[in-house]
Amino acid sequence: MNVVNTLQIIVANMLIYSTPLIFTSIGGVFSERGGIVNVGLEGIMTIGAFSSVVFNLTTAGMFGSMTPWLSILFGALIGALFSSLHAVATVNLRADHIVSGTVLNLMAPALGVFLLQVFYQQGQININEQIGYWNVPLLSNIPVIGKIFFTQTSLPGFLAIVVAILAWYVLFKTRFGLRLRSVGENPQAADTLGINVYAYRWAGVLLSGVLGGVGGAIYAQAISGNFSVSTIAGQGFISLAAMIFGKWNPIGAMLSSLLFGLFTSLAVVGGQIPGIKEIPSSFLQMAPYVFTIIVLALFLGKAIAPKADGVNYIKSK
């Protein structure tokens, strides 16, 4: 097997597996920068994957090859709707963020499989219209580099990188971003300055719903091609890890997602590569979680998450 081909497979798979993680972890960044801890990303992804699969199956005859893309948008919408459960519980009703997030994780697969049984009388369903490989126009013609990075690759992956840059801009260079961060750092102070803390926290959670929904939907539309109870099995928690590993920064979250995607890619395709195939795939699958603990313990300490992350804000009358 020649080196360029091998690298092409690794890089393309890295991007494909990272894409859902990039979207979801950026969603997590928005929620937690606004002060709402979101361990429910896994559940949001599950609902995104489920709703996109249902939309895909229902409309495949109508939209043809556009179906997966519209399905992803639908996944985003339902993801936002589902995340509003977390928002109303944590922002308005003073629920504990971890408990409420866990409710999302318990609720999503149960609801997904229940509705699947109601709609299709089966516990797993496959879609026909999927997102396939993509060659980047022009760039794919560059010798060697073009072959490795820009052929047989993932269009959503490149969109995810653009979204990460955009998210960074929104969070650090716009008025909305500044206000969102302020309600996550010091809600009292923000409130005194006339910022509507509840509204901004809602916005953060809803954004995490939209992006988590997109992440789950992309996983279903481009990777698994199906929905069952095990379609989303841990990707939401890897995204949570990527968000922490990336220090609550969209660019950091994107880079950690790419790193974690590389591990998954190596675990999946590494069997053919000398040097990688000797490492048991269990260890590659474990790596993102081990790295996150080590980094969190040794390098970051405690003063890194937004200050009021996980703290309910109760407006005084």
């Binding site: 890890a241 260890f283 996150t292």
Partner: protein
């Protein structure tokens, strides 16, 4: 309304709301919720055998719920019960399969201890990281669930001896010998050959021991004190760090024991897992519903065991049994937003006992 009635009323109202939501969903999709719930309870409690299955399900749930409760009392979120239980299950199973000839009286205490030790180790890691470096235990326990999940796959594929695995597969082990199993003739025959086993007795013993530790011992007092205010505890001469680590070790040991009970009572072997163990997350649900108190945990575990055991019965009415998990999640949701229930409660009382409010008004 005093605190005690409130403590009982809030979970009861949450349960009612949860069942109502389930009923609304069933109605919305054209099912009859009354038949559904009827079949749920019949298949959970309708015969000696189903009662046995329901009681069996309680064992691991009580233990993982106690695990969550111990950590919660010291102010920590232990979400790592799945991984801790998995560690307890796989380690004790490996031992029992490797030495199948150990007599029963020795075997059972040994597997219990091994499972608890490995579970405790899984709890020790987040405990010490939290105490010494301030690392969020929520994150480390979630990460450890997955690390343990993949490590257990590695163990069964690459570390287990070939002769303890089922023929032609590396995904599950052979069944344990009769002298390692937690099932006993008298418990099985009492409940028409159900899987009821001494795991339930072990769980109840653990429940009583923890109740005594919480209320009668220095350790219990220290745990409560650190949970309420770590700084004040330090001034009072309690080492908050030591208490944090110790509670996580105890929490891990309890969840590890839950894994042992699940493995030796229900499964009878080890099967490679593709997702986190359910008993972990449902243990959290049980503890939250039971308000982290031993007696509350007992009743909450009973309710969730009824739901879990009875769920398949709903297929008699063509209702997908997953609705029960939706109900479970909804109950926890209403517990989480108990603020809204608590706001409702005094108002309801105010209308009935208007005199009391009048007095208050006069004072104000």
């Amino acid at each position: 309304m005093n605190n005690k009635t409130r403590k009982v009323l809030v979970p009861l109202i949450a349960i009612v709301f949860g069942f109502l939501l389930g009923a609304i969903i069933m109605l919305a999709f054209g099912y009859n919720p009354i038949w559904g719930y009827e079949d749920l309870f019949i298949s959970a409690l309708g015969s000696a055998r189903s009662i046995g299955e329901t009681l069996q399900t309680m064992g691991p749930l009580i233990l993982t719920a106690l695990s969550f409760a111990v950590a919660m009392k010291v102010g920590l979120f232990n979400i790592g019960m799945s991984g801790q239980a998995l560690a307890g299950w796989i380690s004790s199973m490996w031992f029992a399969l490797s030495f199948p000839d150990i007599p029963r009286l020795l075997m059972i205490p040994l597997v219990v201890i091994i499972g608890m030790v490995f579970g405790a180790f899984m709890g020790f890691i987040p405990g010490i990281l939290r105490a010494l470096l301030g690392t969020s235990e929520v994150i480390t326990t979630i990460m450890l669930n997955y690390i343990m999940l993949f490590f257990s796959t590695f163990m069964i594929h690459s570390m287990f001896q070939k002769n303890i695995l089922m023929d032609n597969t590396t995904d599950q082990t052979k069944l344990i010998s009769a002298n390692a199993s937690f099932r006993t003739n008298w418990m099985s025959s009492l409940t028409d050959n159900s899987t009821l086993n001494i795991g339930l007795i072990i769980a109840i013993i653990a429940l009583v021991i923890m109740a005594i530790i919480f209320t009668k011992t220095t350790l219990g007092f220290e745990i409560k004190a650190v949970g309420l205010n770590p700084d004040a505890s330090e001034y009072a001469g309690i080492s908050a760090k030591r208490t944090l680590i110790l509670s996580m070790v105890v929490a891990g040991a309890l969840a590890g024991l839950g894994g042992v009970v699940y493995g030796f009572g229900y499964m009878q072997n080890f099967v490679s897992q593709s997702a986190s163990l359910d008993i972990g997350f449902y243990g959290m649900a049980v503890a939250l519903l039971g308000g982290n108190s031993p007696i509350g945990i007992l009743f909450a575990a009973l309710l969730f065991s009824v739901l879990q055991t009875g769920a398949p019965g709903m297929t008699n009415d063509g209702i997908p049994p997953e609705i029960v998990k939706v109900v479970t999640a909804a109950i926890i949701f209403f517990i989480a937003v108990k603020f809204i229930i608590e706001v409702m409660l005094p108002k309801a009382k105010a209308i009935k006992a208007s005199e009391a409010t009048k007095k208050k008004g006069e004072k104000a």
